[in-house]
């Protein structure tokens, strides 16, 4: 059995721990498989040992091969830069397991998702309402991610039950799914008495397109196009996480040029989105000049993307084992020149906003997400860092970021102001990193790749601008994808928003929402 270190660590907390198998498939991945009886205790022990929320939890339908469903739960070990996968096999007849959510809340949404997609019940979870497949349109008893699912059979339709707040003077405000702005669809149900919000319940899933099912049976080329369409403002992060998983499976050796180029593109994506969010926050407090200014900067970055990668949203840049564009001297000069202009404009923008008393007063102490709440909910990414949780994959996993002495940005107050400041600082850090990467980037090597996937399974991960983007990929013997599980940081963080707005007045909701700036499509899949 491999990896004795982690097993000793876990045995100190949970003496009965006795895995069926343990292996280290990749330097950054440890897989353990356990009996269903101790699955819950093992997960809780890992949660305590690693201080990690459930980063991913999902099921696989392997009934054809072994007669079992598999359930996997993944934690991150930042100290060692490793991912820990705990898995169990459930007999096709059992199709239920003991819920983790009562003791480990960050598993809750995943359990709901597994129930609606596979029909595997988490016993003891008090809330098993559907997330993506709305009861009003999707007949009960159809589980689309099961391998034998062909098309939906007729069945009973139902209705979603919102949490209700009773009491004198309490009223509800339903908002959406169609919103007033040019944004994605989602339903928000506010319960309020007077101005302050007592409860907010989000109902999402309106952009559910069955992405994970569409991945199945696809080859690398088609699947990478699909990954780029999961969340349009994180095209590059998604395609990079997907490609990372595929490269781990295929054992590609990634050249320096590729690693630096990808880091540059990832940071450019972060920059245009952060400045867009900052502009959006200005819009939501009615401060139109900085909002317009931010959109000019965003356009400048999109144009830079077009010039160096041929795509405003960095599509079709990643290819298996390499990148499709070469960042030569001429392009490096373009990047540095444009970046000077962009950072100059940005510091003016940040100066205007930070120097405006009314703007700072409005965002200060608005939408506070406490650190404890964020930890319990499993909030990750920028929103978590603004609440003081120091988790950034760029810092803890080896690579070009460590060489460039990446500085992680954290804030402690957890309010809209903290998220604003974190974005401003991250923008500046991204600009610094890009300059540094551009300086170091070597010439492109020619390496032929046939884009054929090998059989295997791996986890791909990347720190996108919202937070970690995770792709767990399994490829069958024919080189086609058997299962692809995607988790965008939005999936964890929407719950954070629901808690951050409590006690705030309803007119501040758009501001709180924009300060998180979460993806609808990345959540709904």
């Amino acid at each position: 059995m491999d990896c004795p270190e982690i097993i000793t660590g876990i045995k100190n907390i949970f003496p009965q721990f006795n895995p069926i198998s343990a292996s280290q498939d990749y330097p950054d991945e440890v897989s353990l498989s356990v009996e269903p009886e101790i699955f819950k205790s093992t997960c809780l022990a890992f949660h305590r040992l690693l201080v990690s929320p459930v980063m991913m939890m999902f099921a696989l339908d392997e009934r054809e091969k072994s007669g079992n469903f598999l359930i996997k739960c993944i934690f991150v070990n930042i100290k060692q830069g490793q991912w820990i996968t705990v898995s169990m096999a459930l007999g096709a007849q059992t199709a239920s397991y003991e819920s983790l959510a009562r003791s480990l809340y960050s598993a809750n949404l995943f359990e709901r998702e597994i129930r609606e997609m596979f029909g595997i019940e988490a016993k003891g979870n008090p809330d098993l309402r559907s997330l993506h497949l709305h009861d009003e349109v999707w007949p009960a008893g159809n589980y689309p991610l099961r391998k034998d699912f062909k098309q939906a059979q007729a069945g009973g339709l139902g209705e979603y039950k919102f949490a209700r707040v009773d009491g004198e003077g309490v009223y509800e405000i339903p908002v959406g799914p169609v919103h007033a702005g040019i944004i994605g669809p989602g339903h928000f149900r506010f319960s309020a008495a007077g101005e302050p919000i007592i409860n907010l319940e989000t109902r999402l899933g309106f952009t559910h397109r069955g992405v994970e099912k569409l991945f199945e049976g696809k080859d690398y080329v088609l699947a990478s196009q699909l990954a780029e369409c999961v969340s349009g403002d994180s095209c590059f992060a998604h395609s990079m996480a997907f490609t990372h998983a595929a490269e781990k499976i295929c054992g590609n050796i990634i050249s320096k040029h590729t690693r630096y180029s990808r880091a540059i593109f990832l940071e450019l994506e972060r920059m245009y989105n952060h400045v867009n969010t900052i502009g959006g926050m200005a819009t939501d407090v009615g401060f139109s000049f900085p909002a317009a200014y931010a959109s000019i900067i965003k356009e400048a970055i999109l144009r830079l993307n077009q010039k160096i990668a041929g795509s405003r949203y960095l599509k079709q840049v990643n290819i298996l084992g390499s990148v499709a564009v070469e960042l030569d001297e001429a392009k490096k000069n373009i990047i540095c020149e444009d970046l000077d202009k962009i950072t100059r404009d940005f510091s003016e923008l940040a100066g205007i906003l930070e120097g405006s008393v009314s703007f700072m007063d409005r965002i200060d102490t608005t939408g506070v997400l406490k650190r404890k709440t964020a930890e319990d909910l499993g909030v990750i990414g920028l929103a978590a860092r603004a609440s003081g949780i120091g988790l950034d994959l760029r810092k803890y996993f080896s690579g070009v970021y460590q060489e460039a002495k990446f500085r992680m940005i954290t804030q402690s107050s957890g309010d809209a102001c903290a998220r604003f400041k974190a974005r401003v600082r991250e923008f500046e850090e991204s600009a610094r990193l890009i300059r540094e990467f551009a300086e170091k980037i070597p010439l492109k090597e020619t390496n032929a790749s046939d884009f054929k996937l090998k059989t295997g399974q791996a986890l791909g991960y990347v720190e996108g601008w919202r937070g970690p983007v995770l792709y767990w990929l399994k490829v069958d013997d024919a080189g086609l994808i058997e299962r692809c599980k995607i988790v965008d940081a939005s999936f964890h963080n929407w719950q954070g928003l629901c808690f951050a707005v409590l006690g705030n007045i309803i007119p501040d909701f758009p501001l709180c929402n924009k300060s998180f700036d979460l993806s609808y499509s990345g959540n709904d899949l």
């Binding site: 169609v178 994605g184 397109r209 369409c229 349009g232 959109s295 356009e299 709904d524």
Partner: protein
């Protein structure tokens, strides 16, 4: 305040901030668009945007078309917050089953006369999500679509040009 005024003076008219060539194209298409909207819609065309399951890329480009560089509004195109104020619906996305009812309600809330424009490859026939168990087919099968703007996502300039070409017909 001083900073704002300073930046305002330095930046000047930012529609000229982009490359001269692009500026020429935008102005050219825009002028034509403006004249057409003057004639056909009595000065302004009001559009309500609805996302029925897009990835957010199309939304980002529609927002870009409203930024100070393209500034679609100067040609008479306004994006409105309510379907009650709209002449047209601009629909993006692969039409998720969850959005079908909402889209019908939005369409019914638009006053007559009204028309539907689809934008982005997904909105044409589901695009890359066409074969999914959860998409409800092409938008044109449910609503009278008069114009489709292709692209994944179409650039702001392509949006302006497509609108102009359509109104010319």
């Amino acid at each position: 305040m001083f900073k704002i005024l300073k930046q305002r003076a330095i930046k000047g008219i930012v529609t000229k901030y982009v490359e001269p060539e692009a500026y020429g194209q935008i102005s050219l298409a825009g002028k034509e668009l403006k004249a057409l909207i003057q004639k056909r819609f009595g000065r302004s065309l009001h559009i309500r945007e609805v996302d029925t399951g897009s990835c957010g890329g199309c939304e980002s480009e529609i927002t870009s078309a409203n930024n100070p560089i393209y500034d679609l509004q100067r040609f008479g195109v306004n994006f409105v917050a309510s379907p009650r104020h709209a002449d047209a619906l601009l629909v993006t996305g692969a039409l998720s089953k969850n959005m079908l009812l909402a889209l019908h309600k939005t369409y019914n809330a638009c006053p007559e006369p009204k028309f539907v424009i689809t934008l982005g490859d997904c909105a044409f026939d589901g695009g890359i999500f066409k074969d999914s168990y959860y998409t409800a087919g092409a938008i044109k099968d449910h609503f009278p679509v008069v114009l489709h703007i292709p692209g994944c996502p179409p650039t702001p300039l392509q949006i302006v040009q497509a609108l102009t070409a359509f109104l010319k017909e």
